[in-house]
């Protein structure tokens, strides 16, 4: 689409086209400004841009001293820690390529990526990651050196190829002195077209693929995002999503380096909510489940509030539902309502935003999955400018963004700056942008299958442009199937609609090449557990709770509502859910049922629970199943259960299919 005229002169000059150059630039122009913070030892420890540069410089030189060469791959594994981000920058300063990995992946998964990406060096967080790498190294001795951040428990690890980052930096400083000019020279040596980073997509099927992105891909896209949303160097972001995920790389690394704003790393997983409130980010990014959890928490906590507060809350939330989003979008609202909303802002919205830590937010994104319209509207009606974003690793995130004032919950907005989007005849969405990836690493076939000669990328998603010009995504293109009668079947679409209910944590829909739609449901243990407690239902755990008749009634209600909803959709009205069951086990990434980003692996599940699927279509009321499961400590065991199956209510289509 049209490129914006500001782009070419954005903060920008042609020569600031790599992260090393940007880092040098910030250290020079805003050296004393805070670049990163980390809550450590009870306070927010800060690094200014020049301190970041010093550390990166030492680390880079240290890596060089250890033999790291341009083109080498550096694995980064751990929670969001400043020194791991610095590790990324250090690799880039040497012309190397950082490869961030998911810190919670098991050794096997990690071994694949390390092998596939030809990783030679690694900068990791702690003993846990070191242990995994040591195990991998036994099979794959190509790892030359490992640096770790936190020495706890590693005192007695005596390996010649294992050192702390401190030690690495110490070596680096010596190396730096011995080789004056080396760092500057190598930091300035890369160019926009060079490889910046490799990010592994988790992929719902098969092994992950390494997406190779150039500096231009990353930096131009990051800059376009900054321009479109008017971000400044004064933003504060909280880096809490996995570093291996493209979103974190864009928001907590690339955009920070382009705009010069501050990245904050939380103290630990257990303190994220506190840390969020302390920092009060101005620019925030979270996948829908984070917003969902937050909303669930709000509702659960409000349940225990006094009557007066509950009344106030519900009264003003109703008001917000009516006028909140309109006020946010600067649409016309009567003066009385406006005044009332102001009062609500003082009594409820403001405090709520503040307690959640979202009070200072100027811009919040959600992406990765469809977000429930209720959830979405909840936040917007509170006055939080949350917008949906449609993106992919292959396009360095930005494909479509909801423009200010034109936010519709069921669409993902209009194409981002410099992005062209079109719909393929098959219904699949295609795009072309500066962010389009270089290639899949060592996988030309996949590259060719995804990216056309002239740079168009198949997203794999089915969708269409609505009348208002906004893109609407239905489902993964390959998942969109047909029922036996030829009706369109969009499983993800149905699943998402189910998941919008707080009681339903996961849903898996079946129906392709079958007579009708059936689903598996995973209840949300916390929400349903709370619900059960309030009704004095006793239960001993997930399996027990999932099996209760009352819970089935509850879920039935949700399923019926989805069916009613579907009956309004011209394309999907006939794919209403016929039968459903509440699965006796929580779907788990460790069992391969979910991806690391918590997407359901439908075909895997279909295979694994084949007897249940069969039973759904056989019309029987109950089915016995035994499943092998992996426990947290790594042991495996068998889980047996009798799972009940229920029928869902059917609705006559409201709109006729055109």
């Amino acid at each position: 689409m049209s490129s914006s005229p500001e782009r070419t002169n954005a903060s920008g000059t042609a020569e600031l086209n790599t992260f090393p150059k940007l880092l040098l630039h910030h250290a020079q122009t805003r050296g004393a400004k805070i670049a990163m913070r980390e809550k450590d030892l009870g306070i927010w420890q800060a690094w200014s841009w020049s301190q970041v540069l010093d550390e990166v410089r030492a680390l880079a030189c240290g890596l060089a001293a250890l033999g790291f060469k341009a083109g080498d791959k550096l694995a980064i594994v751990g929670d969001n820690r400043p020194r791991l981000y610095m590790g990324m920058a250090a690799a880039q300063c040497l012309g190397g390529i950082p490869v961030p990995l998911y810190q919670d992946s098991v050794t096997k998964e990690m071994a694949f990526v390390i092998d596939n990406a030809d990783v030679r060096y690694a900068v990791v967080e702690d003993q846990e990651q070191v242990d995994k790498l040591l195990e991998i190294r036994e099979e794959n001795p190509s790892i030359k050196h490992i640096l770790f951040d936190d020495p706890r428990g590693l005192r007695h690890y005596d390996y010649p190829f294992l050192d702390s980052i401190d030690k690495g930096q110490e070596m680096g400083r010596e190396y730096d002195q011995a080789n004056p000019g080396f760092f500057e020279q190598s930091a300035n040596s890369s160019d926009g077209g060079d490889i910046a980073i490799m990010l592994y997509t988790s992929g719902t099927t098969g092994n992950p693929k390494g997406v190779v992105l150039t500096y231009d891909n990353v930096i131009i896209t990051a800059r376009n995002g900054i321009i479109r949303e008017g971000l400044t160097e004064n933003e504060e972001v909280l880096a809490y999503l996995p570093m291996a995920w493209v979103g974190d790389n864009l928001f907590s690394y690339a955009q920070s380096l382009v705009a010069g704003f501050t990245v904050n790393c939380p103290e630990s997983g257990a303190t994220i909510l506190t840390d969020l409130r302390e920092i009060g980010p101005t620019y925030y990014f979270a996948p829908p489940r984070v917003y969902e959890n937050m909303l669930t928490q709000v509702m659960i906590r409000m349940e225990d509030a006094s009557r007066i507060k509950q009344h106030l809350f519900h009264y003003f939330m109703d008001l917000a539902k009516r006028v909140g989003t309109r006020i946010l979008d600067n649409k016309e609202v009567s003066a009385g309502q406006k005044l009332l909303y102001k009062l609500g802002d003082f009594l409820i919205y403001g405090p709520l935003r503040d307690v959640l830590g979202l009070n200072r937010i100027r811009l919040a994104y959600t992406a990765g999955e469809a977000i429930g319209p209720e959830i979405f509207d909840f936040y917007r009606s509170l006055g939080i400018n949350i917008k949906q974003l449609y993106g992919q690793t292959e396009g360095m995130v930005f494909i479509c963004v909801q423009p200010d004032g034109e936010v519709y919950p069921d669409t993902v907005g209009t194409p981002a700056i410099d992005v062209e989007v079109k719909i393929h005849d098959s219904g699949e969405v295609l795009y072309r942008s500066p962010g389009v990836f270089h290639s899949y690493y060592k996988n030309p076939d996949a590259t060719a299958a995804t990216k056309t000669e002239d740079g168009w990328v198949f997203t794999g998603d089915a969708g269409y442009f609505a009348e208002n010009g906004h893109l609407k995504i239905i489902d993964r293109a390959k998942d969109v199937g047909k029922l036996l009668d030829g009706t369109m079947f969009a499983p993800k679409y149905i699943e998402n609609k189910l998941k919008f209910f707080s009681f339903i944590k996961e849903a898996v829909a079946f129906g392709n090449q079958r007579e009708y739609t059936c689903i598996f449901v995973n209840i949300d243990l916390e929400a349903v557990g709370n619900w059960a407690e309030r009704r004095n239902l006793a239960y001993s755990g997930y399996i027990d709770l999932a099996d209760q008749d009352e819970v089935y009634e509850l879920i039935q209600g949700c399923v019926d509502k989805v069916n009613e909803d579907l009956s309004h959709d011209p394309l999907l009205c006939k794919s209403q859910i016929r039968r459903f069951l509440v699965l006796h086990k929580e779907l788990d990434a460790d069992d391969g049922e979910l991806t690391r980003t918590r997407k359901v692996r439908r075909s895997f599940i279909e295979e694994r629970y084949a007897p249940l699927v069969e039973a759904l279509y056989a019309g029987v009321p109950k089915c016995h199943i035994e499943t092998q499961v992996k426990f947290e400590d790594g042991r495996t065991g068998m889980l047996a259960a009798d799972v009940k199956i229920r029928e869902a209510k059917q609705f006559t289509p409201v709109a006729k299919a055109s």
Partner: protein, 261 residues
């Protein structure tokens, strides 16, 4: 596990006998503790284990016997003397300062290291504040070590049992002790909490080289953690030696292990 090298004897209890009125609590108990060792005391309830710890850090004064600590032999320790010489401990029944936060509890553990006087503290300027900050940093390291960041400012009375035990360990660690007495640190914990606590005990021994005397009922834990074990039964010393030796000692099996089976 790496090879363990034990140092010299740091503590020697010699013929300790303790009674309250007609009640004999300890009867001629003798054992030594080496630098860097994890030394366990086991025995059934009422065997005198806690009393032994109380003798070591001066709460109880034995009628007979002596304690040699760091080369100095005393008939009895004084409580603050023991503390000043680097003996810290945790308690069987949690003995935290209930009105204070986690942070303040652990800060209190550093009281011996604070040098500023009352006037300086009243003015809270210069030395006193500098000290507060210095010690806060140390305490934060302990909080980090014990992974209790999330409860830093919570009043300890509000914490669950397992967490309170952890805070108490933190308070003991704050003194940077040479000898740490742990009185049933894992009592009443679930498996997960026990595992964490075991890890902390090992890490403390490992990272700081702290010598540890441990009272524990969970035999699995004792056998895993300890270098050597003393077995007490009604104040009498039944056995003393490495875990596997003690485990196969017939007197111990009869008096203790047999009972628990």
């Amino acid at each position: 596990m790496h090879e363990r090298k034990l140092g010299d004897v740091v503590l020697q209890a010699e013929g300790i006998s303790l009674s309250f009125g007609a009640m004999r609590v300890l009867n001629n108990v003798s054992f030594d503790v080496h630098q860097g060792e994890i030394r366990s005391i086991i025995g059934p309830n009422g065997a005198g284990k806690s009393s032994m710890l109380n003798v070591i850090n001066g709460v109880y004064h034995p009628q007979q016997g002596s304690i040699t600590y760091r080369g100095e032999t005393r008939q009895q320790m004084k409580v603050h003397q023991a503390a000043a010489q680097g003996i810290a401990r945790t308690f069987q029944n949690i003995a935290l300062f209930k009105g204070m936060s986690t942070l303040d509890n652990i800060m209190t553990g550093r009281n011996l290291k604070i040098k500023s006087n009352m006037l300086q503290q009243a003015v809270y300027w210069g030395k006193a504040q500098k000290e507060e900050i210095e010690h806060r940093r140390k305490v934060e390291e302990i909080i980090d070590f014990l992974e209790i960041q999330a409860i830093r400012k919570t009043p300890v009375g509000k914490l669950p049992y397992g967490m309170q035990k952890r805070v108490e360990l933190g308070r003991a660690l704050a003194a940077e002790p040479d000898l740490l007495l742990l009185d049933e640190p894992m009592a009443g914990m679930n498996v997960e909490e026990k595992e964490d606590m075991c890890r902390f005990v090992l890490d403390i021994n490992d990272e700081f080289g702290t010598t540890i005397i441990l009272i524990e009922h969970d035999m699995g834990v004792v056998m895993d953690l300890s270098d050597r074990v003393v077995v007490l039964d009604y104040g009498n010393q039944l056995a003393d030696g490495p875990p596997d030796v003690v485990r196969s000692n017939q007197a111990v099996i009869d008096a203790y292990l047999g009972v628990s089976n």
